[in-house]
Every structure is written in structure tokens, then in C-alpha cells.
Symmetry: C2
Subunit: 189 residues, 2 copies
């Protein structure tokens, strides 16, 4: 158990996740991360390269985990919204990290992984619309973005100053999210 590079890297990543999710890039402290991970600070620079690169590593890990944890189902958008809501509720770091990224990385733009993912989802919705399985009241892009907006509306770290309520109380709004998305995709009678 003593000298395990992979285990050390993992401990650093875990501690970094908590630290970055709590304080963002500028607010995070390298010393705190290494202290929590019980690893010498210099290992961060040996394994990841630096503070910013460590944040990128944390971010990438979370993005890939989200993307293949919640499969996209263009034929069942309300169901997708519900599952995405569940995931974000169970992984509260995800949204905070994403929000920090959006605020503190205005230049970099969003990761290519996410970009292509959004592009693919949008294309899938557009195809479903052409097939008549989804209404064309809204464009595919709008529909996707609004779905995300509805899913994140109740969750903390949304820009909307919604009261920060406990996780079990948040869960009560899952049904409403699904209903709202259904209203968007069942437009008309």
C-alpha cells in the first residue's frame, strides 16, 4: 500500500474534485488539496503539471463519466431529462465544476467532448423531428438547450437564485421537470 502511483494520483484527483467544486480554480488552494490527499504538494506537479492542469483532469474525468452514465434517448426526451436530473442530484460536484468552468474559462470555450456531444444530440433531435416523432414548434437546438435549462433550473449553482434546498426536497421536483419537458415535446393537443 505504500508506494502506489495510481493510488496517489487517485487520491489527489479526489481531493482536487472537492476543492475545485467548493472554491473554483482561483479559490482553490494547492496546499489544501495535497493536505487532504495526504500527498506531498510536488506530486501534483509531477503527475498533472500544475493547478490549472489538475482542474482540467478533474473536469475531463467528470465530463466523460456523465456522458456515458446518462444515455441520450431522443425518442423519450422527458425520460432523458428525468435521468439527467437524477444523475446531477446524485453527483452534486458535476454542476458546480461545470459552472466554475464556464465562469473561469471564458476563452477556452467548452471542451470538444461536450461540444460534439451537444452537436450529436441536436442532430438526433432534428432527425426525430423530420420523422414526425417530435414537434417542430421549436428547433432541435432550442429544444435541447431548453431541456437542459429545465433540468438544471431547480438544482443549486444555477444562475437563478432559487432557494438552496435539501437533496430530498429537490427530488420532489423531479416529476415537475419531466412534466415540463413533456409539455415542450407534446405541443399542440
Amino acid at each position: 500500500m505504500s508506494r502506489d502511483a495510481e493510488a496517489t494520483k487517485a487520491r489527489l484527483l479526489e481531493a482536487a474534485t472537492d476543492e475545485f467544486a467548493a472554491h473554483g480554480i482561483a479559490g482553490a488552494r494547492v496546499d489544501r488539496i495535497s493536505a487532504v490527499a495526504r500527498v506531498n504538494k510536488s506530486m501534483i506537479y509531477a503527475y498533472f503539471g500544475g493547478k490549472d492542469a489538475l482542474f482540467d483532469a478533474v473536469m475531463n474525468a467528470h465530463v466523460t463519466r456523465l456522458l456515458d452514465s446518462v444515455p441520450f434517448t431522443p425518442a423519450d426526451l422527458p425520460g432523458y431529462a428525468g435521468r439527467l436530473f437524477d444523475y446531477l442530484l446524485a453527483n452534486p460536484h458535476q454542476l458546480r465544476l461545470a459552472t466554475w468552468y464556464r465562469l473561469e474559462r471564458p476563452v477556452t470555450g467548452i471542451p470538444t467532448e461536450v461540444r460534439t456531444s451537444l452537436f450529436d444530440k441536436s442532430a438526433a433531435i432534428a432527425q426525430a423531428q423530420r420523422a414526425g416523432m417530435l414537434p417542430s414548434t421549436l428547433t432541435a437546438e432550442d429544444l435541447l438547450v431548453f431541456l437542459l435549462g429545465l433540468v438544471t433550473a431547480w438544482l443549486p449553482s444555477s444562475p437563478n437564485a432559487v432557494p438552496n434546498i435539501a437533496a430530498d426536497q429537490l427530488a420532489e421536483h423531479r416529476g415537475a421537470v419531466v412534466v415540463a419537458v413533456r409539455l415542450l415535446v407534446h405541443s399542440g393537443p
Copy 2:
């Protein structure tokens, strides 16, 4: 023009707004603020008390300005959504400041001013529902939060990793936002 306390305070507030909106509380630099405002650094402490208090001053100014710039119309929620969208598009600092606040002030909770504002709006929606002017498919609270989620969905600094597009391109989505809110409040045929 030289010795005007109010003018210096205003210059500091303006510079602080840009700085905090760009970098948040932890990332903001007091030196940059005073440099941009062309005011000695120590005046920040004389007039506001410190970095955090300066952020609060900036935040309060923006909140009150937003609240009495965009009147709430419970009978016309799509219209309200459109006007709110316009305001946030014209004042890009607003959403960034609000998001920084949410992320970096987890303890404080949201300002009471905002809290009561949300409470009042929610109550007004509930009353309109009882009067039969709005459907009761969703609770008043859900309806309000989803409206905010839809309005902010396309805007930058939303947690959703939506491509950062130019302001004039964003404006093209205004119509879609209004339509989406209309779908929520015109449930059924």
C-alpha cells in the same frame, strides 16, 4: 472635478463590477480595481470596508436595478420571460455576478431582497392559478423556477455547456424562449 467622494465611489463601483463579473470574488484583484478606477487602493477600505463588502455593494446595486427594471406580470408570463431575457442580454454582468454569488457564497444564502421577490412572484402566480388564468399542471413555484430556467438556458454562464455565441445571435433565440414559456402556461389544447 478633483475631490468628489460620490464620484470616486461610483468609479470604484463601476471598476469593481467589471472585475468581479470577470473573475469572481476569489479571482478579483483589488489592485486592478483601483487601477482601473484611477483611485488609490485604500479608498476601497475607507468607502466600502474591504473586498468582500465591495462585492456585496456591487451585487446589491445590480439586484435592485434588475428588480425594478423588469416588472413582473403574472398574467403574461411569456411576456415577462421575454423582457427578462432582453434585460439579461443587455446587462451581461448581471448573470455572471449572480452566478459567482451562488458559487462563492454558499453559506450566506441568497439576498433577502431576492428571496422576498421570488416569494411574492410565486404567490402572485398561485393567485392567478386559483383565478383560472393559469393552468395548475405545475405548482406556482415550479412554474416560476422553470420560467427562470428557460430564460437563462441560452445565456452564457448558465451551467449548461451551451456554445458561447455572440449577443446578436442570442437575440434570435428570444422568440423561442417566449414560445417555450407559452407552452408551459398553455398546457392542453
